[in-house]
């Protein structure tokens, strides 16, 4: 079973490389190098903070684009090209196929984020080497090459796994355009989720408040994955918080992938 899933995952990864998804890393590197030069000209002693903010935000955005735009085509493309028939006649269960697709894209995202994290650290190292006063500037709140940035990258990655799972789920029964719209919609809603938890403060109806609270638990809660500003300001992120948030993200992603397996296994391809 694991071998079959691994084969599908490897195929997804190879396909993303063939589709030149990794080219975005060149764009990312160009953005970081260009920004590191421009920021020094535009701002007052905040170079390191801005480079860290930009590096983390760009990693999250690039990762989001990959998760959404590759994720929504993962299954639909196979159905559209009718290659799904060739796959399903092989000794491969449908849920293994979905699991392999998810893991393949997760691997692509991991490689992307790992390279982007390395690029951010490299730019920071070069900036300090070029201008050593940046590291000792009074305005610096955290070490320039701060290992805590990795915490932000880890949480971005888990957040992207949730988005990938949602995109894959929609991909099992919907067109890429609609899937992308729905996934982006859920991504946005996921950042306003906390409002639903306190809905009883703005409505008097107990039923509406209960419905809102139910939605709070059902919809993905993506805001807790954002610790970018905190790590840039050198604030400690408790290990318990990171573990709970990662655990929530992995469970949520697993649940949505499970739903995607269910939908895909019930689809009639005749």
């Amino acid at each position: 079973m694991l071998r079959v899933i691994g084969l599908v995952a490897a195929h997804v990864f190879k396909e993303s490389v063939r589709d030149k998804v990794l080219y975005n890393l060149v764009l990312f590197a160009t953005l970081m190098i260009g920004a590191s030069y421009l920021v020094g000209q535009l701002t007052a002693g905040q170079d390191i903070k801005i480079i860290k903010d930009l590096g983390l935000a760009a990693s999250a955005v690039f990762g989001l684009f990959i998760a959404v735009f590759i994720g929504v085509g993962l299954v639909w493309k196979e159905v559209d090209r009718r290659s799904v028939y060739n796959v399903l006649v092989k000794p491969l269960r449908r849920h293994h196929f979905i699991a392999g697709k998810f893991i393949g894209l997760a691997l692509t995202l991991f490689v992307n984020l790992a390279v982007m994290a390395a690029a951010v650290y490299a730019v920071l190292v070069v900036m300090v080497w070029w201008q050593p006063t940046l590291a000792t500037a009074a305005a610096v709140e955290a070490p320039v090459v701060d290992p805590r940035l990795l915490v932000a990258f880890v949480l971005i990655y888990v957040q992207l796994l949730v988005v990938t799972a949602v995109a894959l789920f929609f991909s099992t029964f919907s067109s890429p355009m609609l899937s992308a719209a729905l996934t982006c919609g859920l991504y946005i809603v996921g950042h306003f989720n906390a409002d639903l938890a306190h809905f009883e403060n703005v409505v008097t109806s107990k039923a509406a408040a209960a419905l809102a609270r139910g939605l709070y638990y059902v919809l993905p809660n993506l805001a807790p994955f954002d610790v970018k500003a905190a790590v840039v300001h050198g604030q400690a992120i408790p290990a318990g918080y990171v573990l709970l948030t990662c655990g929530y993200g992995l469970c949520y992603a697993a649940a949505v992938v499970g739903l995607a397996m269910l939908v895909f296994s019930r689809r009639d391809f005749k």
Binding site: A44, G45, D53, A60, A137, A139, Y187, I188, K228
Partner: protein, 317 residues
């Protein structure tokens, strides 16, 4: 049968010459487009974008719209705030105003509530009297209070609020209150407590002012702040020097029986070695109409001296 995406080896690649022609034609069209755009810009100049325009003015609304990208958008607003401040400060327009400064700082600090530099520099930009700054001490204090609400451990914000009351408002009671508040926050330096006591007892004196400016300079590496600190300390030095020169002028009057017509006359009596110059290099001015009889030259880069420390009464006896 569907068409192939790329030509096969059998079909062959497009000849090199053909590719060269295609590239040349493309380059010509690009050059044409650039030329036409440049011509249009000459005959129909582009409207200057309104630097003070903000699509969103509400901090809470901006932070909601930013999703999880608040910090990086805060950086953009911070850069805009600096550009707006710098452009307006350098502008020679008689109608110039810092109308977008506070909204930009408010947005930056709403999007990133721990943006220390935006609070601290922002308060300096806002408090500086017009035309060098917005002259909005009320907004500077509002910004610092917002910073303290976001992070009550930042004693620097309370120190800055005390500094604004001390230097720009000469409200020494309020300044002492802020310094005392700052000194009670964990991690605050020891001198804030003595600064609170000194300010309350002695009001604004030059020695404590010099300490305040020096401390402010030590909390940042920003060149603009450092230049400002050097200027203010040089002004305080000039005030000390003027006090000493007032004594010399008084001595001259006692000997010669009249106000000295020039520094050369004072030197001729051996009371000074050379024509005295301020820290910026400009000679001090002898002026019998001014209290004390000695003042700074209008041409000096240190002019005008901080009003609260300038001798306000007492002609040279």
């Amino acid at each position: 049968m569907s068409a192939r995406a790329t030509p096969s080896r059998a079909e062959g690649r497009p000849p090199r010459r053909q590719a060269l022609v295609a590239l040349t034609v493309s380059a010509l069209f690009v050059a044409g487009a650039l030329g036409l755009q440049a011509s249009r810009d000459v005959y129909f100049p582009l409207a200057q974008p309104d630097a003070t325009m903000l699509y969103v003015r509400s901090g809470p609304a901006a932070s909601r719209l930013a999703l999880s990208f608040g910090a990086v958008i805060a950086d953009l607003y911070w850069i805009r705030a600096i550009q707006h401040y710098g452009d307006t400060r350098l502008s020679t327009s008689p109608t110039k105003q810092y109308s977008a400064l506070y909204p930009l700082l408010d947005l930056a600090t709403s999007l990133d509530p721990r943006f220390t530099v935006a609070y601290r520099f922002g308060a300096i930009f806002l408090a500086e009297p017009f035309p060098d700054g917005a002259g909005r001490i009320d907004l500077a204090i509002t910004l610092l209070n917002k910073g303290l609400a976001a992070d009550p451990t930042k004693w620097q914000y309370a120190q800055d609020a005390g500094f604004i009351h001390y230097w720009w408002l000469q409200d020494y009671k309020a300044a002492a209150h802020w310094f005392d508040n700052a000194s009670r926050i964990d991690g605050a330096p020891w001198w804030l407590r003595s600064m609170a006591a000194t300010t309350l007892v002695q009001g604004g004196d030059r020695r404590s002012s010099r300490v305040l400016w020096t401390q402010l300079g030590e909390t940042t590496d920003d060149e603009w702040v450092q230049t400002n600190v050097r200027l203010k300390i040089a002004q305080l030095d000039a005030l000390d020097e003027i006090d000493r020169l007032v004594v010399t002028v008084t001595q001259y009057q006692q000997i010669a029986g009249r106000f000295p017509p020039s520094w050369e006359a004072v030197r001729a009596l051996g009371l000074i070695g050379a024509v005295p110059a301020d820290p910026a290099g400009a000679a001090y001015r002898l002026d019998p109409t001014q209290p004390g009889g000695v003042t700074i030259a209008h041409e000096s880069t240190l002019y005008p001296l901080p009003s609260q420390f300038v001798r306000k009464a007492g002609p040279p006896s």
